[in-house]
Each structure stands twice: as structure tokens, then as C-alpha cells.
């Protein structure tokens, strides 16, 4: 009954390979995110989707392509992996509230997926 679940939790792969990380949330939220925590421990937003629509797209290489088949899923596909892609990738979700209600930025995170590129 995990609220935000990511698979796989660990991924070790060679440079140049293509890999995907899947994320699913059962909280009924309509907004999902991918964050990257690099070796310096910075937690940086990469993408955000609301109801399958891209709403935030930070300066991320084109090799990263998010896909949201429905509002409960946000997958991350990475092409031609590089050493610098090694990081922990966190999926998160939130519920967007309409006008009159505060959108505070409270996020619900998954446990993270540690990607190691050799």
C-alpha cells in the first residue's frame, strides 16, 4: 500500500545504455514530479506533469524523456547514459488545488531509485 512507488530501487548499467525508471502513485494526486539528487546531495527538479501534461521542464538534456500515460504514472526514460547521470532519482506527487485554495508545494516522495552508470 505504498503511496508513491518507484521501480527499480537500484540500477547499475554501462555507459551508452538506455534505461527506464517507473513511478506510480495511489494517492489520487494529479501532479507528479521527477527530482534528481546528485553526488553533492542537491535535490533538483527535472520535470513535472499535471494530468499527463508537462508543466515544468528544467534544463535537462534531451536524453531524458518523461512519459505520463495517466495521472497516476510518470516514467523516466534515459537514452545513451553517461557517467554524470549517476544519481538518486526521486519521484513525487502532489494535488493541485484550484483557485481559492493554497498550493503550498507539499510533495509526497517515493523511496528513490539509485542509478549507477559504469
Amino acid at each position: 500500500d505504498t503511496a508513491v512507488s518507484q521501480t527499480p530501487k537500484y540500477l547499475v548499467t554501462q555507459m551508452g545504455n538506455d534505461k527506464s525508471i517507473k513511478c506510480e502513485q495511489n494517492l489520487g494526486h494529479d501532479t507528479m514530479y521527477w527530482y534528481k539528487q546528485d553526488s553533492k546531495k542537491f535535490l533538483k527538479i527535472m520535470f513535472s506533469y499535471n494530468n499527463k501534461e508537462l508543466i515544468i521542464n528544467e534544463t535537462v538534456p534531451n536524453r531524458f524523456s518523461p512519459k505520463s500515460p495517466d495521472k497516476a504514472h510518470l516514467n523516466l526514460h534515459i537514452n545513451s547514459l553517461e557517467l554524470g547521470d549517476s544519481a538518486v532519482y526521486f519521484c513525487a506527487s502532489s494535488q493541485f488545488r484550484l483557485a481559492g485554495f493554497a498550493n503550498t508545494g507539499e510533495l509526497f516522495f517515493g523511496e528513490g531509485s539509485r542509478l549507477t552508470v559504469l
Partner: protein, 115 residues
């Protein structure tokens, strides 16, 4: 460009005493500030937040103070307990187009509460 800064990478506090974690920010457009707690091998979990129009919010042992003129906020934990040992992330959110919020995180402060 680090818009949310946590200058203390670590902090050790005796059990029962007060823990004070500090955070500075640079972007005046932030309208909410949040603290998240993270245990090893887990994702961050939301702890407490404060609106930019307030200067204090309290939830049990946790209080967040906001000094908008100094662009500074702090999290007070009192009394500190060993279970509070974790990495604490300061975060700030700003509205982007469409009314959505973009959340920016600091680098985190590792708190160790010594029994």
C-alpha cells in the same frame, strides 16, 4: 544559482535540548517555505510549512520561524529526540505559469541527536 541555502551540513544536539536548523533564500517570489525530513534509503517526507505572510508556525515539537526581511527561516525542534536524527531539507515554493508550484530544495542539514 542556489536559491535556497543551508550553510550547516551537520548539527549534533543532546537529547532533550533544542535543535535549530537554519536556511536562507534569495528569491523574493517564494510564497511558501517547507521543511522535509529524510531518513537513509527513504524519500523526503513533509514536516511543516509556513506561508510567506506569516512569521511563525508551530506543530507539536516543531516550530518554523520566518524572517522575510532577512530572507531567513529556521526550524526549532524542542525537545530533540534520537528519532529526530535525519537529514532536514529546507524548501521553498514559487508559483509558475498555470498556478502550479515549483519547489526548490536546499542541500540539507544532517541532524544527530545524541542520547
Amino acid at each position: 544559482d542556489q536559491q535556497v541555502k543551508q550553510n550547516s551540513p551537520s548539527l549534533s544536539v543532546q537529547e532533550g535540548r533544542i535543535s535549530i536548523l537554519n536556511c536562507d533564500y534569495t528569491n523574493s517570489m517564494f510564497d511558501y517555505f517547507l521543511w522535509y525530513k529524510k531518513y537513509p534509503a527513504e524519500g523526503p517526507t513533509f514536516l511543516i510549512s509556513i506561508s510567506s505572510i506569516k512569521d511563525k508556525n508551530e506543530d507539536g515539537r516543531f516550530t518554523v520561524f520566518l524572517n522575510k526581511s532577512a530572507k531567513h527561516l529556521s526550524l526549532h525542534i524542542v525537545p530533540s529526540q534520537p528519532g529526530d536524527s535525519a537529514v532536514y531539507f529546507c524548501a521553498a515554493s514559487a508559483r509558475v505559469s498555470g498556478g502550479y508550484q515549483k519547489v526548490t530544495f536546499g542541500i540539507g542539514t544532517k541532524l544527530q541527536v545524541i542520547p
